[in-house]
């Protein structure tokens, strides 16, 4: 099992390519912004910040990670190594999930929204895995950063808009089938956290499985054939 080696490799990659620095900068900026806001706005603002940034960082970072690996032809070496596609996917998802959880806690604790740390951390982690899996699926199929940015827009709309509608206006329980609403529930402490966690788990697993299939095709296409 190569997950540990790949995970450590991804963490080193993210550190060396400046991903951690970017998130240290944004964490400080977000915390500063939170305390600049009126107290009554702070909780909702923190939930939106966590949902749209640290939780969703995989969607953006996955594009740059895979594009770097494509341009540096590292995927060729991965394709002729004992690494299985699911190991490649899990290591990427977990490495981004780890930083997402840490950054979310760094924003959530000062904002006072971490009521149940278990639900909060697992919620952010699963949401991050879901976003990362979507990002990975898109990144596998594109060749430039511009293509990636354009391709992520529909995914962002589909995940973000229902969640924001739930947060501000339409708090119906049936919306809990939506993964974005689940993470809002888990971060804000409103509603039933356990069903939200289970629904989010289902979506994260589903997209992880789909991402494994996409990565398998991408590694095969290193040989030069579109499948």
């Amino acid at each position: 099992m190569k997950v540990k080696s790949l995970f450590l490799g991804d963490v080193r990659f993210q550190f060396k390519y400046g991903f951690y620095f970017i998130y240290l900068f944004f964490s400080i900026l977000y915390i500063g912004l939170l305390f600049a806001l009126p107290r009554m706005w702070r909780e909702k603002a923190a939930v939106i910040m966590i949902f749209t940034d640290p939780s969703a960082m995989g969607l953006y970072f996955m594009g740059s990670m895979v594009l770097f690996e494509k341009s540096e032809r590292v995927l060729n070496s991965i394709a002729v190594s004992p690494v299985k596609p699911w190991e490649y996917v899990i290591s990427k998802l977990f490495s981004i999930g780890l930083i997402s959880s840490v950054v979310s806690l760094a924003i959530g604790i000062p904002a006072g929204i971490v009521i149940n740390p278990f639900f909060f951390i697992f919620g952010v982690f699963l949401c991050s895995c879901l976003f990362s899996a979507v990002g990975l699926m898109i990144a596998c199929k594109i060749t430039t950063l511009n293509q990636f940015i354009l391709a992520t827009i529909p995914a962002e709309i589909l995940i973000n808009v229902p969640a924001l509608i739930w947060l501000f206006w339409y708090k119906k329980s049936w919306l809990l089938v939506h993964p974005g609403v689940c993470i809002m529930t888990l971060c804000s402490g409103e509603g039933a956290p356990l069903p939200a966690l289970l629904v989010l788990f289902f979506w994260a697993v589903l997209f992880t499985v789909l991402a494994c299939g996409t990565v398998k095709k991408m590694l095969r296409s290193v040989g030069g054939v579109k499948l």
Binding site: R73, V74, S77, V80, S81
Partner: protein
């Protein structure tokens, strides 16, 4: 070690690799020699399991390509023509990462030392020259001590002294019993390193033999000489085994009138051109 029978493959509807078959024995260096676009890299990709959808039978290290699983790669080392390295990681970090993907691996510092990169181990790959990247890429393929090595243009872009180091390392791997597939359009490398070479043109094997047999079968060694005739320099050639029949040559020797004399064997390139009508480089 490697057995290919009735191999056919195409990227489009037009057949590209056509009815190719050959065997490679354990401990042999087998060369694919041909011009760009001939199908050398495609054959290598099929043998390394990167290209599927071919017809025919391909066995590598006892495993049928197409039905192999990922543990197959524990014993396969591939040196791609272009470096496949994390540019922002150091040479040592790159090797450490790739070594961690395999069950067994060689000592990283020993490998770095063999290609003269030990002092650059902690330098970022992005700061490496093209030749340094090639050498690092090469030892990356040796990291897990594979039984079968696929080398794609291993000396491309290297200066003569580093090319020599690389060729000695390849011969060293052969001495350890490793099977090596060398893809190149460099006839000198092929002649020096390969036990047997296959001439690949348009997806076909046009000839397959040892470099010496290919040279000896097709072209005899020749003597080229020059002499002066009414102030003009005349160039002549005579096969080595027919010098006694060349009256002009004998007369020039007797009268000490030769201006220059050279002997030479045809190169693999000459044989390649003769057999295929195409240039290697």
């Amino acid at each position: 070690m490697i057995s290919v029978k009735n191999l056919n493959f195409s990227y489009t509807r037009t057949p590209f690799i056509k009815n190719v078959g050959f065997e490679v024995k354990t401990g042999e260096i087998f060369g694919f020699l041909g011009p760009s676009g001939a199908g050398k890299s495609t054959l290598q990709k099929i043998l390394t399991g990167l290209l599927t959808g071919f017809k025919g039978s391909v066995l590598v290290n006892g495993e049928a390509i197409g039905q192999h699983n990922n543990s197959f790669y524990e014993n396969i080392g591939v040196d791609f023509e272009f470096p496949s390295l994390y540019e922002k990681l150091t040479a040592y970090e790159n090797l450490k990462f790739f070594a961690s993907l395999y069950q067994k691996h060689r000592d990283i510092n020993t490998l770095l030392s063999k290609v003269g990169l030990l002092n650059d181990a902690n330098k970022k790959v992005s700061d490496f020259s093209k030749g340094m990247k090639s050498r690092l890429n090469f030892i990356k393929a040796l990291l897990h001590d594979p039984q079968v090595l696929f080398l794609d243009e291993p000396t491309s872009g290297l200066d003569p002294s580093n090319a020599r180091v690389m060729k000695d390392l390849i011969l060293n791997e052969k001495a350890k019993g490793k099977t090596i597939i060398l893809t190149t359009h460099n006839m000198y490398d092929a002649t020096e390193l390969c036990d047997r070479v296959a001439f690949i043109v348009d997806g076909n094997i046009k000839a397959l033999d040892t470099p010496r047999n290919l040279i000896m079968k097709r072209g005899a060694s020749k003597i080229a000489y020059t002499y002066s005739d009414s102030g003009r320099e005349i160039k002549m050639e005579v096969p080595l085994n027919k010098t006694s029949e060349d009256e002009t040559f004998l007369r020039l020797i007797r009268t000490n009138c030769l201006l220059s004399i050279h002997s030479g064997e045809p190169t693999l390139n000459d044989i390649f051109v003769e057999l295929t009508g195409r240039q290697l480089q």
